[in-house]
Amino acid sequence: MRLSFPRPFPDNQNPEAILANPSLAPDGSAPRSRGLSDLAIRNLFIIPTIIFLIVFNIFPLIYSLGYSFTDFRASTNAPANFVGLDNYRALLSDPFIWKNFTITAKYVIVSVTGQVVVGFGVAMLLNRDIPFKGLLTTLLLLPMMLSMAVVGLFWKLLYDPNFGVINYALGLGNFEWLADPDMALYAIAIADIWMWSPFVMLLSLAGLSAVPKHLYEAAAIDRASGLYTFFRITLPLVAPILMIAVIFRTMEAFKTFDIAYILASQPTTEVISIRLFKMAFQEWQTGMSCALAYIVLIMVLAITNIYVKYLNKVKER
């Protein structure tokens, strides 16, 4: 069967000629506007965007790379002296910085794992015929639409040992989520999981809806168990899109600042971004902080690269 689509111009008409001269249209009317020309799109959108990116992203990136090899302090008028790799050497041999990286790694693992488990789990639940599915999905997406600062303040109240609803609901009495040095990082991760699981859920839903139904039908005919179906059909087919979610969330979790800064000020919750902020804007060690920012950037790129390679492998299967 040949599908037929409505054609904008009759077969006996030349579209280019009609566009160049609207009076040639069969009914004499002008055709619908073709929109902006490629040239106009380039001048109006692409060039300004590229200029914006160069001025606000590329230039500061290169400029800060230069500063990372100096002893520059933005709070003084003193010139920036070239110090070679001293900043990098000092940072990489600083036990406090390594502690910050360890805290960050722990946070990323807990937070991203939690988001994937919760997000994918909720997506599995939603990937079936249930009443008010659309409304439910929209409501579940709300947390990730909120500001990080608002979420931080909101969870601070929820965790409050005096009047927080979490202790009340769980019957934990005056349990100190944020004042306990060992618990605080997990408390922050829980807030982050609440906020960003919907993002994983959204991508997972897209992946789940793309799994061909006939595979499940075939598995059912073969009397495959639910677990077998999940591990041999669902997970492998959703894995590529789930990996994309993991990449995005890992990058974001690695850079976490707001929520951790607002919720607690424990040394056990000082993720690398908080250390970077203090170094750059409280201590005004501009050169040193640029070096730290580059170390963080390299780490994020390396982790992302590993993920992308893994993603490509998953796709090839």
Binding site: N162, A179, S265, K278, Q282
Partner: protein, 355 residues
Amino acid sequence: MIVGDSQWLGAASEAGHYVDLTQFFNDNKVGEIMAPATVKYYAEYPGNSGKYWAIPAEGDAVGWSYRKDWFEDPTEMANFKAKYGYDLAPPKTWKELRDIAEFFHRPDQNRYGIAIYTDNSYDAMAMGFENALFSFGGDLGNMETYEVEGYINSDKAVAALEAYRELYGFTPPGWAKTFFVEDNQAITEGLAAMSMNYFAFFPALLNESTNPHAANTGFFANPAGPSGDRYAALGGQGISIVSYSTKQEESFKFLQWFIKDETQKRWAELGGYTASAKVLESEEFRNATPYNEAFYQTMFIVKDFWAVPEFAELLGQLNNRIYPHIVGGEGTAKETLDALAADWKATFAKYGRGK
């Protein structure tokens, strides 16, 4: 002109951002107009150098508020006297402060002894700890030679840290990231018997629309330590002239007007926190608000954190060392302050200060 924090003096003066006001200071005898302690910490840099970069403008320090009705309750007074052997009243010593905090600490009644600063994001916990440190006779170091060994880890400093950590045990639950908002809330929500805070935040405690206990809220200056030393951590700001300003002449005229007795008096009447010695000492000022008497006493005993350009690094190191001890109970006070002394020595050496 710029109204800048006292700890910015070093960074702003060494970097050439502030105009040197030494000549103006000497010509106008500003040192005699303003309370001496405020001149030392809002204006002079380096310490004891005789060089001045700011005029004390908005005076402030860490004081205390308390629940008068709890303190004046006959049953509480009798029980307190029976337990501690002296009358329940606003504390005059840190020993009394500790006893009162312990006495009112009743978690089962949702009533707690004391609210202190514990936030280590910036200088909150440092200011709170300084209230103990200075009154216990300890010090951060030598402001001229930058020696810290034997100062910040002296026996007196160790005792001060132990005292501050002990007070943390009498705070409401979850009191691990608290600054001026939370400490005022401790009073407005009827949580704590006493609460430390900057004087600048005390007007809110007298406002019945923000504090249901306003009529029952009293104030006192930081109490004395075991040896009778009595100091308080400095807040507030001085006012400086920016060296890039094209209006420096007008700025000097403003400062000349600002330091006049009548201007300072009016500044105080309008709610400004004057540092003028004459105004502070006047009966009229001391009786103007319930906290002015405590403010007057405090502004003559203030001491401050390091004002060197690298103060934020020193502050970060202080936070990194004392927070785990105060809040998490890690290590001993002596170990904590020995480690801090080592950090500070390394930082001063890095910037070529001292020997």
